[in-house]
């Protein structure tokens, strides 16, 4: 049986629109017959992956998730800059000969096509809207699905770009074997990846993240009023950026995540040190970092108010049933902590111990500490 690390957190967000659905409303879910606010797991994972905590902990071990690798490769070929500099938007001097337009497009398409199906550029039917050729070219270099590239793969692509630039000839079939199963990024090892085109290079996620939902019921305001800001502007790329101040409901969220430590270590080629560093950074990010949605308008930055961490080889379980009945009253946090503790105790009564041990941290009462939680989750294991 694998060893699991489970994290149960209560995080309070002030009024915000953290995670929007495709109509621009905050995401919701019904639970226990009441509407709750919801933050999707994708949104949480993205926030953690992009956090400074991750960047600092895993310098050189983080991959990149993008549909636009082909576009970046094209830019690198066209300018002669290194791929890493192009990806990081660094102004840098060329490191190799620049490639002419036509070849750059064709080669970039060949390379991108290895990671996913290339998008078909839209042809214009509407005479009013002139198609921007630059935009169309970019479209033709993007793939349809997000692809998660590991650092080893990015290095392999860059290496190939160097050889192409020197040789001046189009990539051969063997040059295009760019996918790597080993030396995967920490983020890929944690959250997995799915490549429809090359399933052999898929990676099972070692970290499962539940959608965070409020422990209480929430009435989401209709956002036609909010939408006015969005209507008044016309910025091509800022669809999400212009939804302004809405009095979207605040919420106290229950968030749950579960790490299969053995699988994480396996995904990281058995690197124990990196595995512990991964667990530590993940827990710290989960405690301190939330989705960035509308950060500028809402500054909804929040640390977790309460954390319960568990370790053990028992089958993991979420404690969301604690909030099947929406929490009420004027002190959500205390009530929610009580519900969580009670549910855990009652579950142990009927099932026996569900973990080998646990620690708590409560920022409202000042009990416990994040350091203790981090020491616990990375401590010696059986």
């Amino acid at each position: 049986m694998s060893e699991f690390i489970q994290l149960h957190m209560l995080v309070s967000y002030p009024p915000s629109n953290l995670n929007r659905d495709d109509l621009g409303k905050p995401k919701t879910a019904r639970m226990g017959g009441a509407q709750r606010l919801r933050v999707s797991s994708q949104s949480l994972k993205r926030a953690w992956r992009e956090s400074e905590i991750f960047q600092e902990a895993f310098d050189g071990h983080l991959g990149i998730r993008t549909k636009e690798m082909g576009w970046q490769v094209y830019r690198a070929l066209k300018s002669g800059q290194g791929l890493a500099d192009v990806l990081a938007e660094n102004e840098s001097a060329p490191v190799r000969p620049a490639i002419e337009e036509k070849k750059a497009v064709a080669w970039a398409q060949q390379i991108a096509g290895r990671f996913g199906k290339l998008k078909k550029p839209k042809d214009s039917k509407d005479d009013d809207e002139k198609v921007d050729p630059e935009k169309q070219k970019k479209e033709s270099l993007c793939v349809e699905q997000m692809v998660h590239f590991s650092p080893a793969e990015i290095a392999a692509i860059d290496d190939l770009l160097g050889r192409l630039a020197e040789g001046g000839k189009k990539p051969e079939e063997k040059d295009l074997e760019l996918l790597r199963a080993e030396r995967t990024g920490v983020d890929i090892a944690m959250f997995g990846r799915m490549l429809a085109a090359s399933p052999a290079f898929n990676c099972d996620a070692a970290v499962q993240v539940a959608h965070a939902i409020t422990v209480h019921k929430v009435a989401v305001e209709d956002d036609y009023f909010t939408a006015v800001d969005d209507l008044n502007h016309r910025d091509e790329d800022s669809g999400a950026g212009h939804v302004g101040q809405a009095e979207f409901a605040a919420g106290l969220f229950y968030a749950y995540l579960c790490v299969n430590r053995d699988l994480l270590a396996e995904n990281l080629d058995g690197d124990e040190e990196l595995t512990d560093r991964g667990v530590e950074a993940l827990v710290e990010a989960a405690a301190k970092v939330g989705p960035k949605g509308k950060q500028n308008s809402f500054a909804s930055r929040a640390y977790a108010s309460y954390i319960l961490a568990e370790r053990g080889s028992e089958q993991p379980r979420s404690l969301s049933v604690a909030f099947l009945k929406p929490v009420e009253g004027d002190d959500y946090l205390t009530a929610a902590v009580d519900e969580l503790r009670t549910t855990r105790q009652n579950m142990e009564k009927v099932y026996g111990a569900c973990a080998d041990g646990c620690v708590e941290m409560n920022a409202a009462t000042g009990e416990g500490s994040l350091d203790e939680v981090l020491a616990f989750v990375t401590g010696d294991h059986a």
Binding site: D128, Y224, F225, T226, V228, L231, R234
Partner: protein, 223 residues
């Protein structure tokens, strides 16, 4: 011309607890007067607002678009306001919500105009009282909206609009005692802007008749 403003108007805290408030808003005519008192200082003038009343968690919320400065004679409202000057282009796709009074105008033998609710009209035409209203509302309502849209600068597709909430409201005008019947239908879905100028006019002045009774305000957002 002065600019348009989009309003969201809530009752102030506590105002909803006052039974007198509810006695004053028992029918659409009273609601019409109530909203009028928000936008007018009482002197006679033309209506320069369109609005929609919704009940959210048992209290009224009014959305309105107007060129008028609000006055709020009663002092019971919390008013949020935003400049409303949508930047739209042909081909823009918008989510929308509309409560409208869909009628067809017909002339009788003496040349007088009569307005017929499109649903009742279809029912009479089919000489039936069977319970086929749900389909009828969708069909007739959609046809009505599509033909309006042509003139108002937008197009709708059958699959992308839900038409429901058919209701008839009956009341008497207090002074004349005249009986008034208004039916309303709710439309929800997506539309495509075909003529930005005409469409903006529709956003500012509403769609269809019975605007003084809370019909015709198009609520839109980008999708």
């Amino acid at each position: 011309m002065s600019g348009h403003t989009f309003y969201r108007i809530h009752l102030k805290d506590g105002a909803g607890q006052d039974p007198a408030f509810w006695r004053r808003v028992r029918n659409p005519y009273q609601v019409h007067k109530m909203v009028w008192r928000i936008f007018s200082d009482g002197s006679h003038k033309d209506r320069d607002f369109i609005y929609r009343l919704e009940m959210q968690e048992h209290t009224p919320v009014i959305y309105a678009v107007s060129t008028a400065d609000r006055v709020d004679l009663d002092g019971i409202w919390r008013v949020d306001a935003k400049d409303y000057h949508p930047a739209l282009r042909r081909g823009d796709r918008l989510g929308f919500n509309l409560r409208a009074n869909p009628v067809r105008t017909k002339r009788d033998e003496e040349g007088r105009q009569h307005r017929h609710d499109v649903v009742m009209d279809a029912k009479y035409a089919m000489e039936t009282r069977d319970n086929i209203e749900v389909d009828l509302v969708q069909q007739e309502g959609f046809a009505w909206l599509a033909s309006r849209g042509e003139r108002l600068g937008f197009s709708v597709e059958e699959g992308a609009v839900r038409v429901d909430g058919y209701r008839q409201h009956r009341f008497r005008k207090p002074r004349s005692g005249r009986r008034v019947t208004i039916s309303t239908i709710d439309f929800t879905g997506a539309l495509t802007v075909t003529d930005p100028d005409l469409f903006k006019e529709a956003l500012y002045t509403g769609v269809g008749p019975a605007k003084s009774f809370g019909c015709g305000l198009l609520l839109v957002r980008r999708v």
